[in-house]
């Protein structure tokens, strides 16, 4: 069973991605947060309590309070070796080249434009170790 964390301030996208994961039939525990800070709090309270981290994070960029880039920096500073193993996929309405460059600089190589299709999600989730 995979742990999937969906982070988007627009709850519709968290709902759509949840439905999509359910449709493709890959067993997963799905957790949602509506901004970067809420996601960090969730990781600190829930995942660290269970000594596991999400296998994958689908992350929006443009969010209030803490945006996607700030989340990546905060997440990477969590003092756990497993942090490096967590796959982060950026899912955004923007395909701004500057965002793509900045994401690459932060070591994120997967960048998807909304809305994500079932086949895209199936491909990403089935590729997880």
């Amino acid at each position: 069973m995979k742990n999937v964390l969906l982070v988007d301030d627009d709850e519709i996208f968290n709902l759509l991605n949840t439905k999509s994961i359910q449709r493709v039939g890959i067993p997963a525990h799905i957790h949602t947060a509506t901004n970067g800070k809420q996601a960090i709090d969730l990781i600190n309270e829930y995942f660290q309590g269970t000594s596991i981290l999400p296998d994958i994070i689908l992350l929006d960029l443009n969010m209030p309070i803490m945006d996607g880039f700030s989340f990546i920096e905060a997440f990477r500073s969590i003092p756990l070796p497993m942090v490096k193993l967590v796959k982060i996929v950026i899912v955004t309405s923007s395909d701004n080249p500057e965002d793509i460059v900045r994401a690459r600089e932060l070591g994120i190589d997967k960048f998807m434009t909304k809305p994500v299709t079932d086949s895209d999600l199936a491909l990403i989730l089935s590729g997880l170790n």
Binding site: I12, L16, K19, R23, N35, Q38, I65, S94, N96
Partner: protein, 361 residues
């Protein structure tokens, strides 16, 4: 050798020269300064008593960063004019964008300097507006596409079908809200300022009635205390935008489970204008968020469902009316916006966002 313009040519010429909003400088063939106008004096921070006769190399550092001296000599030599965009630093350390046009004037050099900083700022703001809007408008559209696709794949019963339709409808409303915010922003930016005679009592009543159809309007009690008795003169549409946005904010940012959410609007006559206070008991604004609330596209909380243009538009409307706005807030207690709008009949003062501070209990 060219000479400074003769005095006799001149009351008109001098007036034109000194009132121009561009800086004019005239140099001889060895680039010694012969004459310059008031705007050049202000832009380059030079004074007539010590700048006349000075060589271009002595003060060009204030407009350079490039080897301008050689390039200006080339203009004198070849007669071919040159225009360049230059970045200069002003006294306060801010960046100024100067457009410098150099041309041959008789045997010497003429330079026209135009300060493009404000125009440049407007262009930067406009580009940001376009960029962010293209993102914000795509987001609900992506959601609608995703919902339609999910409905196609998931719908097996009528109930699910209506559930999806309801979500699509919600996204369409979100799109509409963004477009509404945008149109208010643009109307104030590009609209002509028209002066209207306003009866304050009727105006306040009209605004509140107009907003009564808004979702959750009935969950906020609005009390108005109108102590203004005289008619007021200003651009009604801009004033309406200020009221609409601040009342909508009080509705959006009320405490969700509270049953006593209220907004007090107090309007009083000031010496040369009107003071309007919007005080609510909503969720308040965090201290670190407060300095940013008037910025374009700023969204401080997850309850900010729009494009983040509301308070930016309020600030622009206040500026358009040459007024002032300040805010005090305490998280969990409430927010108080104080707006001062001068009467358009005799308002000549500059506008500003005057202060942003925390409200102490």
């Amino acid at each position: 050798m060219i000479k400074a313009p003769a005095k006799k040519t001149s009351n008109v010429y001098t007036s034109f020269f000194n009132r121009a909003i561009a800086g004019f400088l005239l140099f001889d063939e060895t680039l010694n300064l012969i004459d310059f106008n008031k705007m050049a004096s202000r832009m380059l921070r030079i004074r007539r008593e010590n700048a006349l006769g000075m060589n271009l190399t002595k003060f060009s550092s204030s407009i350079n960063g490039l080897d301008l001296h050689e390039r200006f000599l080339k203009v004198v030599k070849t007669g071919r004019s040159m225009t360049l965009k230059n970045v200069a630093t002003d006294i306060s350390g801010g960046k100024r964008i100067l457009n410098v046009h150099a041309f041959k004037a008789e045997t010497g050099l003429g330079i026209v300097v135009v300060d493009m900083t404000r125009l440049n700022n407007v262009i930067d703001e406009f580009n940001l507006l376009l960029y962010k809007l293209s993102h914000d408008l795509r987001s609900p559209n992506s959601a609608i596409r995703g919902l339609v696709n999910a409905a196609r794949l998931d719908v097996k019963e009528e109930y699910t079908f209506y559930e999806y339709l309801s979500l699509i409808n919600k996204e369409a409303h979100k799109l509409d809200a963004i477009l509404k915010e945008l149109s208010r922003t643009v109307e104030i930016k590009v609209g002509t300022i028209v002066i209207n005679r306003i009866s304050v009592h009727e105006f306040a009543k009209e605004v509140i009635e107009n907003l009564s159809g808004m979702p959750d309007f009935s969950n906020l009690k609005i009390d108005t205390n109108i102590l203004s008795s005289r008619p007021f003169f200003c651009h009604k549409h801009a004033l309406l935008t200020i009221f609409q946005n601040l009342i909508e904010n009080a509705i959006k940012y009320r405490k969700k489970n509270a049953t006593n959410s209220h907004l007090f609007i107090t309007i009083t006559d000031e010496k040369k204008g009107l003071q309007i206070i919007f005080k609510d008991n909503g969720i308040g604004i965090q201290n670190d968020t407060l300095p940013h609330i008037f910025k374009m596209f700023f969204r401080g909380t997850n309850q900010s469902k729009g494009a983040g243009l509301g308070l930016f538009t309020v600030r622009n409307s206040v500026r358009a009316l040459k007024g002032k706005i300040s805010v005090e807030s305490k998280e969990g207690v409430g927010t108080c916006f104080t707006v001062y709008i001068p009467s358009a009949i005799d308002s000549g003062q500059n506008s500003e966002v005057s202060s942003v501070k925390s409200l102490t209990k």
